[in-house]
Symmetry: C2
Subunit: 325 residues, 2 copies
């Protein structure tokens, strides 16, 4: 297993024995990811099943220790495109054809590493992204990454915005407009805050005004567990409400500060917050839900829309790395 050449100074000098390093309290400094699970230290091996990685089969600190920016998104193809795009933007050595799927032994998720950037797909919906996040957060912990920032880049339905608008999430809210995620633990419901990092979001908005090539707003993002009935769509296999009912719900959402709707932001915020990871959500809107439900925009226009969160995030990463000022 070979790791790509680091482009950032890697502050680890030696790689301790795999079975021992997680016990070294010295590594648990403030800028590290906090797994909140006392059982992990007692495990001889940790198999990250859905990523097809493990602490005994892979040298995770060597493979991933230099990671600073973790970018997740629903579609495997899009996350591969993002890896290729960021490779070009960071002007890294080597060919983009050499960027291969680290999780290729499984088709659950795809993962690409480009210098200090990790790009991973998460599928659709909170359960799908939460499996990936559990294993990703453990990965970042086992690899002893420092100062990691986590981004979700995605697509969404807009609420009162022109299609193509990028929304940087202020609060990730549930279908009742509450900034919380309900996690069931052993049959008991636990409420978690979905708080994202205010500083990172402001920095992203600043990047957007510097780029000045597409509209970007900050607003609340509503996260639902269903694309059709849960988002008030009239075009699912099941629909028991009227157009007016739908519009009233969207108006309520808008009045509460919601500007877009997607399906992962609350659990993403909740897990990052619980583990002390700075995180942000950047989604482009593919349509204005006040105008319709179906996505009928031509393919090439949708493609360009989907690149916008990538362009914004690439600018952020380049600024953080000092490649642009």
């Amino acid at each position: 297993m070979t790791a790509m050449a680091p482009i950032l100074l890697n502050n680890m000098v030696t790689v301790p024995d795999q079975s021992e390093y997680s016990k070294h309290e010295v590594f648990h400094t403030a800028d590290q990811v906090h797994v909140k699970n006392p059982h992990l230290d007692t495990m001889e091996e940790d198999i990250l099943y859905h990523l097809n990685l493990g602490t005994k089969t892979h040298n995770l600190p060597e493979m991933f220790g230099e990671i600073k920016f973790v970018c997740v998104g629903g579609s495997a193809n899009r996350m591969k495109s993002f890896a290729q795009f960021i490779h070009q933007e960071l002007d890294l050595p080597g060919s983009i054809d050499d960027i291969t799927d680290i999780c290729e032994g499984t088709d659950r998720y795809s993962m690409y590493k480009v210098g200090p950037v990790l790009s991973i797909s998460h599928g659709m919906g909170c359960p799908s992204i939460s499996i990936m996040l559990h294993e990703l957060i453990k990965l970042v912990h086992h690899a002893r990454c420092h100062n990691v920032v986590l981004f979700r880049i995605g697509t969404s339905g807009g609420v009162g915005l022109a299609p193509g608008t990028v929304v940087v999430t202020d609060k990730a809210v549930d279908c009742f407009f509450r900034p919380q995620f309900e996690q069931v633990v052993l049959g008991k419901v636990i409420i978690r805050s979905t708080e994202l990092d205010v500083g990172v979001s402001k920095e992203l908005l600043q990047c957007s005004s510097e780029l000045n090539n597409f509209p970007t707003v900050i607003g609340n993002t509503m996260c639902t567990h269903d694309f059709y009935e849960g988002q008030g769509r009239l075009d699912g296999a099941l629909c028991s409400f009227s157009t007016e009912d739908k519009l009233e719900y969207l108006r309520k959402a808008y009045n509460s500060g919601v500007r877009n709707i997607e399906m992962e932001s609350t659990v993403f915020g909740a897990m990052c917050h619980a583990c002390g990871i700075k995180a942000a959500v950047i989604c482009v809107t593919l349509l204005n839900r006040f105008d319709g439900d179906q996505i009928s925009t031509p393919h090439d226009v949708l493609e360009e829309y989907q690149q916008r969160p990538q362009v914004l995030l690439a600018h952020f990463i380049k600024k953080r790395l000092g490649l642009i000022t």
Copy 2:
């Protein structure tokens, strides 16, 4: 767009104009799929966005009219393997290399058609499968399929069963062991029954006893929205409970009739029940959760386990088609 040659008698003689056929009440006979959405008939076009299909761009009755068995499962690779396997089992003409992904324009889901069998991936978790089911049920409706049976074949954690046991689901229950699914519609929670088809499940058990090559049981299947905390795993990035807490929850589940745990069965049951589709869930258990959380079984053993639901379902399909008695 070419359709594969039907191997069953197709009872449609003419294909009415796309924009008109859904209004023909004569087609809404008892053995057809019931979409429960009055808005659909008023739509000029229906774009099945996540399947990359549509009523204006594709002749859905011609492409899918002969479908009798719809098989869904989480992994795209596995659903491709199943399509190839059923092609061999049904002794269909042509090469398995010609079986291509009908949804290849999108990476959200993969879909393969083999004679009267449709094999589709659905990703992980209720939200992911529900998007696919909305569009699949509309597809089956637009294609005017008759007497369709829907199966989920998947993997699961076993509760008090030897790894490799196949569970045919009696009741699909939530994390509180209730046979229901909570669907949010416009910010209101609606409770739906997850009832599956008793007759189909009995037929599957009969098939299993005829095959007699792996253990098969009928039992309740618990569907959670999270793989780690929601299923009582001690090895996630977050874990706030003890081994004893975990075992107590699993014992409660077992005592209520739960024999396996996965992440899609409740919404699968709920949507099929609401639309009048006969449905069954067949999952193999990869481990016994009383013995551990991590899936450390060798790859080739897991591969063989994952074929078991496919073997059982193939036997069912061959019997239904009169290929074996």
